[in-house]
């Protein structure tokens, strides 16, 4: 069986779903783009003051036509980086928009640059457990209003993996698609295997701003996936009870899914949620609080219930450096994420503001560990190995048996940075803690990848040109 963690049972899931449908019918959803409201009205919803009251049949029809988890493929630019959700191997997806890094040489916190994004993306290209090499940092040294464009350009130039990013309005969506199309030769080729997707973040409770509506509608038109997330904050933009937060969060995602299907039936979406808690003393949001992680698990269950691929930010750590808090948060969030959703958004510290190069290696190690943890057992002749038992006999040893030799590499997870030896050997290797080990590995990769380009120069230049000309249109868009 596939091991799973459950925070809500079937009856509770059905209750939440039902309450969410009722909420959309009675309270409705505020879509701030008139075009979005028109789609709903045309389908039979009532509009009042920018709010659409959505009959359940619109939601249910949308859930029928949206591509389901069992056939969903998260495309890479090249097929070797495709990820089939039905294989049930959870992977890491890079979060976006951190503003700071710990400098790889000095370890000091400083603003992230375009060079950081380049190198971080190149490193992620080599981390097997990472399926989406999205822009972990937003460079602070590019023209700021157009930083979404520059971020897309640098990401597309430096990875063959999937990329999820923010876009600014319809033009932002179209320009990101133009850049991605350059990387595969044509828009036609790109649309066969759309290897980028767009964040669609609601403004809870029950509101979607105009720009976000536009991003959702435009990506649906192209059948490029939207990662739809509603992320309230308990006691702030969500009520102070997880149960209530789950209902409106689920409702908001359902309304957005329905809009995508009204625009273009069959448009792909991923079900996500940033719903989280806030510390009532410091008023900082907490990405790794127990409540936030409970909600990630429960939302993943709701996403599965409606048959969608799920992506949950269960590995954004509140800790500021790779210390024991960071380690526990990585473990707790990661374990719940791996046992409940398809893509675990992570690889940032300080909630979602800081990236440590060493943590990239650490996150890869933890995810690889968790992939083993959640792998289903399969009871067959090879695994039951009765012959092997007979061969060793009572009180015998299996160390030199063929069964051990043939199976140990697959059966046992093999760490690459975690310490497994005895104290003396660890001491002989320099008594290094895991941060030091990870940092060394990150530095080695950094050096190796310094000058590695994966796209021809003319393509890179054409992509850069799209970013360079974006300044004027970016200026006038609200976000």
């Amino acid at each position: 069986m596939q091991p799973e963690v459950c925070f809500i049972n079937q009856k509770e899931i059905e209750l939440i779903h039902e309450k969410a449908l009722e909420m959309l019918e009675d309270m409705g959803m505020k879509f701030e783009a008139a075009e979005a409201r028109e789609y709903f009205v045309k389908a039979g919803a009532k509009e009042e003051d920018g709010i659409v009251k959505i009959p359940r049949n619109i939601i249910e029809d949308g859930l029928k036509t949206v591509p389901k988890r069992d056939t969903f493929v998260l495309y890479g630019r090249t097929p070797d980086k495709d990820h089939r959700v039905a294989d049930n191997v959870p992977t890491l997806a890079a979060m976006t928009m951190a503003t700071h890094v710990l400098d790889i040489e000095t370890g000091k916190r400083r603003q992230a640059t375009d060079r950081d994004l380049t190198m971080i993306t190149r490193i992620m290209e080599h981390l097997d457990a990472v399926s989406s090499a999205s822009a972990l940092v937003t460079p602070q040294d590019v023209p700021m209003q157009a930083s979404d464009w520059y971020t897309w350009a640098t990401s597309i130039k430096n990875t063959t993996k999937h990329i999820t990013g923010g876009a600014v309005g319809k033009e932002g969506v179209r320009d990101a698609i133009r850049m991605a199309s350059l990387a595969v030769g044509s828009e036609e080729e790109f649309l066969k295997r759309p290897f980028i997707s767009f964040w669609v973040l609601t403004m809870p409770p029950l509101r979607v701003d105009e720009n976000t509506c536009n991003v959702l509608m435009e990506s649906a038109r192209f059948k490029v996936p939207s990662v739809i997330s509603s992320g309230g904050i308990l006691g702030m933009s969500s009520p102070m009870s997880i149960e209530s937060a789950l209902v409106h969060t689920h409702a908001e995602i359902l309304a957005c899914v329905a809009l995508s299907q009204l625009v273009n039936s069959g448009a792909p979406v991923i079900y996500s949620s940033y719903v989280r808690s806030m510390d009532m003393r410091t008023m900082c949001i907490n990405m790794s609080s127990p409540e936030s992680i409970i909600m990630k698990g429960a939302m993943a269950q709701l996403g599965r219930y409606v048959g969608l691929p799920t992506e949950m930010p269960a590995n954004l750590r509140d800790g500021k450096l790779m210390d024991a808090q960071h380690g526990f948060e990585t473990g707790m969030g990661g374990t719940v994420g791996a046992l409940s959703c398809d893509f675990i958004v992570g690889m940032q510290l300080d909630m979602d503001l800081l990236v440590d190069y060493a943590d990239l290696i650490y996150s890869q190690e933890c995810m690889s560990n968790l992939q083993r943890l959640v792998r289903p057992m399969s009871f067959d002749d090879e695994t039951l190995a009765y012959d092997n038992m007979e061969e060793a006999g009572h009180g015998g040893s299996f160390l030199d048996s063929d069964h051990t030799l043939f199976n140990y590499q697959d059966e046992l997870w093999n760490p690459t940075v975690m310490e497994r030896g005895n104290y003396e050997n660890w001491e002989a290797k320099g008594s290094k803690d895991i941060h030091e080990v990870c940092l060394e590995k990150a530095r080695k990769l950094y050096d190796e990848l310094k000058d590695v380009e994966i796209l021809p120069e003319d393509v890179r230049k054409a992509i850069d040109a799209i970013a360079a000309e974006s300044g004027e249109k970016a200026k006038h868009i609200k976000r």
Partner: protein, 210 residues
């Protein structure tokens, strides 16, 4: 316990429903409105101190602030012109192009709790609106502007630059904030202060008017 003490305790413990009755009783017994006002301001000082010492959390502080607000509403018509109702006016908004107001709303709450009268201009506030509001309210002490996204930081820069050119600039302080904002950025664009969170924003604002 005197009536004034009761009013003070009522604010500290955040019993919003009782404050109107208590203030009225105190007035009936002959307490001066400004005495009561000062007692409530002092009570909020105690609340702020308790918050700083981690004895209470934001929701408790909020209910105290709400209690005081109700009490002040009764006193307002009775106060002489010269009696200040607190620390002054604080104009706040997210800059043009930025629609994210959660952090800004937290700052409003904390600033109000610190005794300021908050003029909340909401989100996506054009530069002219900030300027106009300060012109219309000569007693504005502080203008707070926020930007949540790196993409709206240039708009914050433009807003502060425009405020810096106004003739009223010497009379106000400009505070900036938002997740991607740093002290260096605040210095670079010519703001008077940057604070990393709502509690320190309130602290800083109090220092400015002290």
């Amino acid at each position: 316990m005197s009536k004034i003490e009761e009013v003070s305790n009522c604010v500290v413990s955040g019993k919003a429903k009782l404050i109107n009755g208590l203030v009225q009783e105190a007035l009936d017994e002959g307490c001066q409105p400004f005495e009561l006002l000062n007692a409530m301001i002092d009570a909020m000082g105690i609340v702020g101190e308790r918050f700083k010492n981690n004895e209470i959390f934001v929701p408790e502080m909020l209910v105290s602030a709400k209690t005081m607000k109700r009490g002040v509403a009764i006193l307002k018509p009775l106060l002489a012109n010269g009696d200040s109702t607190g620390a002054g006016k604080f104009v706040i908004g997210t800059v043009a192009g930025d629609l994210h107001d959660i952090g800004k709303n937290l700052v409003c709450i904390m600033i109000e709790s610190a005794g300021f009268e908050v003029i909340d201009l909401g989100v996506d506030v054009p530069i002219e609106k900030f300027i106009e509001t300060v012109r219309e309210n000569p007693d504005v002490k502080i203008v707070g502007c926020s930007a949540l996204l790196t993409t709206t930081m240039p708009s914050l820069r433009d807003t502060v630059a425009a405020l810096n050119e106004q003739d009223f600039r010497p009379n106000i302080k400009i505070m900036v904030g938002g997740a991607p904002i740093t002290q260096e950025f605040a210095d670079e664009i010519g703001a008077d202060a940057y604070t990393p969170d709502a509690a320190s924003a309130a602290q800083k604002a109090k220092e400015f008017v002290a």
